[in-house]
C-alpha cells in the first residue's frame, strides 16, 4: 500500500483528467469546437512515450557502463510500452486530424516525423530479436538506442518547427499556450500528462518484473 501510492496517484490523476476534460470549461474556438478536449488525451500519449524512451536511453547508457543485464531489460521494456503509447498517439491524432484538418493523414511534418520515429523504435525491437547472443544483443541495441533517442527528439520537436506544420506551436502556428489564456486548460492538461506518464511507468515495471521472473525460471 505505502509503496503503491504513486499508482493510486496515477489513477486519480487520469480519472480527474477524464472528468475535468469532458465537463470542464474550454475556450470556444472555430474549427476545433469541442475537439480541443483531445488535448487532454492525445498529447499525454506522446509525452508518456517520450518519457519512456528517455528512461530507456538512460538505462541503455547505464547498461554500457555497468554490464548489468537488468538495466538492458528495463531499457527494452520501456521501449515496448513506449511503442504502444506511440501508436495510441498516432491513431488518436489521425481521428482528431480527420475532423479538424479534413484528412487523417494530411502529410503534416510532425505526423510524418512521428511515424518515422515509431518505425525507428520498432527497428530497435526487431534488431534485438535478430541477435542470438545475449551480451552482444544488449550492447548493440544499447548503442542503437543511444543514437535513436536524439534522432527522435529532432524528428518530433525540432524539424517540425523549422517548416510549416498544422500542429500548434510549429512553423509560425501559435502554441497551445495561446489557447488557454485563462489557464483553465493547464489545470487539466498537466495533471493528465503526469498521470499518464505514471501509468506508462507502472505498466513498464510490471512488464519488467514479469520478464525478470521468466528469466529466472529459464536459468
Amino acid at each position: 500500500m505505502k509503496e503503491n501510492w504513486w499508482k493510486i496517484l496515477a489513477s486519480v490523476l487520469v480519472i480527474y483528467s477524464l472528468w475535468a476534460g469532458m465537463l470542464g470549461a474550454v475556450p470556444e474556438l472555430p474549427i476545433l469546437h469541442e475537439t480541443i478536449r483531445n488535448l487532454y488525451f492525445h498529447v499525454p500519449m506522446w509525452f508518456t512515450m517520450v518519457i519512456l524512451y528517455l528512461i530507456s536511453v538512460i538505462y541503455s547508457i547505464k547498461y554500457l557502463s555497468s554490464g548489468n543485464e537488468n538495466h538492458d531489460l528495463l531499457a527494452v521494456e520501456c521501449v515496448n510500452t513506449g511503442v504502444v503509447f506511440g501508436f495510441l498517439g498516432l491513431v488518436t491524432g489521425m481521428i482528431w486530424g480527420n475532423y479538424t484538418w479534413g484528412s487523417p493523414w494530411p502529410n503534416d511534418p510532425k505526423m510524418n516525423s512521428a511515424a518515422i520515429s515509431t518505425l525507428m523504435y520498432l527497428a530497435y525491437l526487431v534488431l534485438r530479436n535478430s541477435l542470438e547472443e545475449e551480451q552482444k544483443r544488449a550492447r548493440i541495441s544499447a548503442v542503437y538506442n543511444i543514437f535513436a533517442f536524439p534522432v527522435m527528439i529532432v524528428l518530433l520537436f525540432i524539424l517540425p518547427r523549422l517548416t510549416d506544420s498544422l500542429h500548434p506551436g510549429n512553423g509560425g502556428n501559435p502554441g497551445f499556450s495561446s489557447y488557454d489564456l485563462d489557464s483553465r486548460m493547464r489545470m487539466v492538461f498537466y495533471p493528465a500528462c503526469f498521470g499518464w506518464i505514471l501509468i506508462g511507468v507502472w505498466i513498464t515495471t510490471i512488464q519488467y518484473r514479469l520478464r525478470k521472473l521468466q528469466n529466472k525460471q529459464l536459468n
Binding site: M1, N4, K7, I8, S11, V12, V14, I15, Y16, L18, W19, A20, M22, L23, G24, A25, E28, L29, P30, H33, E34, I199, W202, I203, I206, R209, L210, L213, K216
Partner: protein, 70 residues
C-alpha cells in the same frame, strides 16, 4: 485503499461538475450538455478506465505473489 480512492473521486467529481459552460458564437456541444446526457458518456468511460486500472492493480498483485514465491 479503496475507501481513499472513492472519497478522492467524489471530491473531484463535485468540484468539476460545478464548473459552468459559457456560451459564445462558436458551435459547442451545448445541447448535449444541457440535456445532461454528457454525464452518461463520462460515466461509461469512467467505468472502462476504472476497470482497466483495477485490472492493472490485480496484475501487479499477481506478479508480487510470484516474486515472493521465487
Amino acid at each position: 485503499m479503496r475507501k481513499y480512492f472513492v472519497t478522492a473521486s467524489m471530491v473531484l467529481f463535485t468540484a468539476i461538475s460545478s464548473l459552468a459552460q459559457s456560451t459564445s458564437g462558436v458551435d459547442m456541444a451545448d445541447e448535449l450538455r444541457s440535456s445532461g446526457k454528457i454525464y452518461v458518456v463520462v460515466a461509461v468511460i469512467t467505468i472502462i478506465l476504472l476497470a482497466l486500472i483495477g485490472y492493472l492493480f490485480s496484475i501487479d498483485r499477481k506478479v508480487k505473489k510470484l516474486e515472493k514465491k521465487n
